[in-house]
Symmetry: C2
């Protein structure tokens, strides 16, 4: 089939609907050429690997995806979490620069890169979109460098909760798909530190947990002041 030059795969990815999924490719919608294939990935299953040929571009339909880099001894830095509606795996070069894995069972829409490139070569608006998508990732990465390089553990967790809260438009409560370890590897901390800080935030009433993964923000301003999101930005 395709997509599986991947390495360690626990379950086999399988096409959900090989047929036409009427173009809901973000701002690429209404482009009949851009027809995606839905693929389903199990928890912790690899979607693509670092340095692997970038044959497809991706959009999360349901579930969640993490993209990350590894050091030789296993230390991991997660660059971004991708939630439903998010695009990922867009490369200007031939190869992926991070690995991508499903955090939970996920459905992903994918589209051949060559098709997209061909379209971009004809349609300047598509080319502009590609640029904008990469620029948005860069924006996030630059903000995250500030967090990783200069914020304290408490500030990082507060920033993370605010980011997730802003991205989870549903239900008023944050419903985290990822483990404490994932959060830690995103924030440059250990899972114990993340857990401790969330506990503190809960103890002081800044957030409320119905479960470890269900967090409700009670005092947004407290989080904002903690996360240093108020002054500049």
């Amino acid at each position: 089939m395709f997509i599986q030059s991947a390495a360690i795969v626990r379950q086999q990815a399988r096409p959900v609907s090989a047929a036409v999924t009427s173009g809901q490719f973000c701002l690429f919608a209404s482009r009949p050429e851009l027809i995606g294939t839905k693929m389903s990935y199990g928890r912790d299953e690899e979607i693509y690997g670092e340095a692997e040929e970038a044959e497809f571009v991706y959009k999360v339909v349901s579930g969640a995806v993490r993209t990350y880099k590894l050091l030789g001894d296993g230390r991991r830095q997660i660059g971004a979490f991708h939630l439903p509606g998010d695009l990922f795996g867009f490369e200007s070069n031939a190869k992926h620069r991070l690995s991508a894995e499903a955090i939970a069972d996920s459905v992903v829409l994918l589209c051949k890169r060559s098709t997209l490139e061909r379209l971009a070569a004809r349609d300047i608006e598509v080319a502009r979109q590609l640029w904008a998508i990469t620029a948005r990732s860069l924006d996030h990465a630059e903000e995250h460098m500030l967090l990783l390089g200069r914020k304290t553990a408490a500030e990082r967790v507060a920033s993370f909760l605010l980011e997730m809260d802003a991205r989870m438009q549903v239900s008023g409560a944050i419903n985290l798909p990822m483990t404490r370890r994932d959060i830690a590897d995103y924030l440059g901390l250990t899972l114990e530190t993340v857990s401790r800080i969330v506990s503190q935030l809960q103890a002081e009433g800044t957030v409320a947990l119905s479960s470890a993964r269900q967090i409700r923000v009670q005092k947004r301003s407290k989080l904002q002041e903690l996360g240093s999101e108020l002054p500049l930005h």
Copy 2:
């Protein structure tokens, strides 16, 4: 004149040659439309500020530039150093997301963004270049997140020296334009820690310093293994 909605400016930026500098705009060269203006900036002078309107794009001719973000209490994260030949200030959105300052007295070539955009709208190859430039910045940012989130102080300094060594093709020795504080703010450390680690590297013969800013790599493999640049990447 222009370019100076900037805030704290020690010396005044001044045009070096208001006239035509025959288009040497990187891969934008041989584009007669892209004629740059050379501007000179003094040490620590602001080139543009965060959240400022992105009216120009820039190329370093001589000197060096840092781009950075600040937190409210003054903590700073430098996102990148820009050396002669490097492009910076390319935005897909209307506003800059970092500030830019000259590290040393510098000459910078700048070009109106609107001109570039107009050109990109007509010429798909230019549009592709814009995308590629942003993608290269993203690549660097992703590698830097790994450094900031997961590498030790010694690994960060080793990685930094290797990066600079690779970018300074001249003379075999690294000639740093920036202070220890700049390096620290790039690596998410303090200037004292950077200084200590460089001293250690010198003591063990991994590098040799003719002055604090003049560093020669003596044992590249030692730096590579320290910087965790060998295994994956």
